[in-house]
Amino acid sequence: MTLEILYFAWLRERIGLSRETVTTDATTVAELVAELRGREERYALAFSDMSAVRVALDQDLSEFDAPLAGVREVAFFPPMTGG
C-alpha cells in the first residue's frame, strides 16, 4: 500500500522531512514504525522513545496497534502543546 507520511515538530526536524510518500507492506502503525526505524539512523533516533510520539491516521488521533488498512495519511508528532 502507498501511504502519505507527515512529521511535525521535533520529529520533522530529526528526520529532516515534513512529508514523504511510502510504499509498505506494514499492516499496523507499529509495523510501519519498525520499518522506518530500520531505514536510517535519523529515523531510528526520531522513533527511539515511542512514549514521546503520537500518531494520527487520516487526521484522527490513533494508537500504535491500529491497523493501516484503508488509511491514506499517517502523521507522527510529539504530545501536543497548544492553548
Binding site: F8, D60, L61, P79, M80, T81, G82, G83
Partner: protein
C-alpha cells in the same frame, strides 16, 4: 460554532464583544485568552506549528463534544500559528449559555481538550537557542476531570 485557525493576530476585546452580540438571549458568556508569557525576559519569541486540516477537524470535534456535554448557545475557538513575541495573544475560546455553570464548564473543558488533543506544538526561541516546549503531565491529567 466558530472555529478559526490563523496566522494573523486577533483582537481579544473586539472578538469578545462580537461573540457576545451574536449570542442573543444568553445569560452568561465566558471567555479565555492565552498570552505568550515572558518569564524574566528569557524568551525572545515563540513559534507555533500545527497540522493543517487535522487542526480544524480536532477543534470542531472538541467544540461538538462540549456542546453535547453542556447547554451552550455559542462556542468560539480561535487559535494562531506562526511566530509570536511575548505579550502577544496566542488563542482564545468563548462560550455562551443561559446559565453560568455551563458557560464556565464548557470553556474550561475546551481549554483542557485543546491543550492535549489539538495538533499544535510550541517552540521557544531565546539567546540560548530554540527548544520545543514539553507537554506537561498535568495537562494530560486534567482530561481526567471530565470523565
Amino acid at each position: 460554532m466558530d472555529i478559526r485557525v490563523q496566522e494573523a493576530p486577533f483582537d481579544y476585546g473586539a472578538e469578545t464583544a462580537r461573540f457576545t452580540d451574536t449570542c442573543a438571549g444568553v445569560g452568561a458568556v465566558v471567555t479565555f485568552c492565552g498570552i505568550v508569557r515572558n518569564d524574566g525576559g528569557a524568551m525572545d519569541a515563540m513559534e507555533i506549528e500545527h497540522y493543517p486540516g487535522m487542526t480544524e477537524r480536532a477543534l470542531t470535534q472538541i467544540a461538538e463534544e462540549a456542546g453535547q456535554r453542556w447547554s451552550l448557545e455559542g462556542c468560539l475557538i480561535l487559535h494562531r500559528y506562526g511566530r509570536m513575541a511575548p505579550g502577544e495573544k496566542i488563542m482564545m475560546v468563548a462560550t455562551a449559555s443561559r446559565h453560568r455553570a455551563d458557560a464556565f464548564a464548557g470553556a474550561d473543558f475546551l481549554m483542557d481538550y485543546l491543550k492535549s488533543r489539538a495538533p499544535f506544538w510550541k517552540k521557544e526561541f531565546s539567546g540560548d537557542g530554540a527548544a520545543w516546549v514539553a507537554a506537561k503531565d498535568e495537562d494530560e491529567a486534567a482530561l481526567g476531570r471530565w470523565g
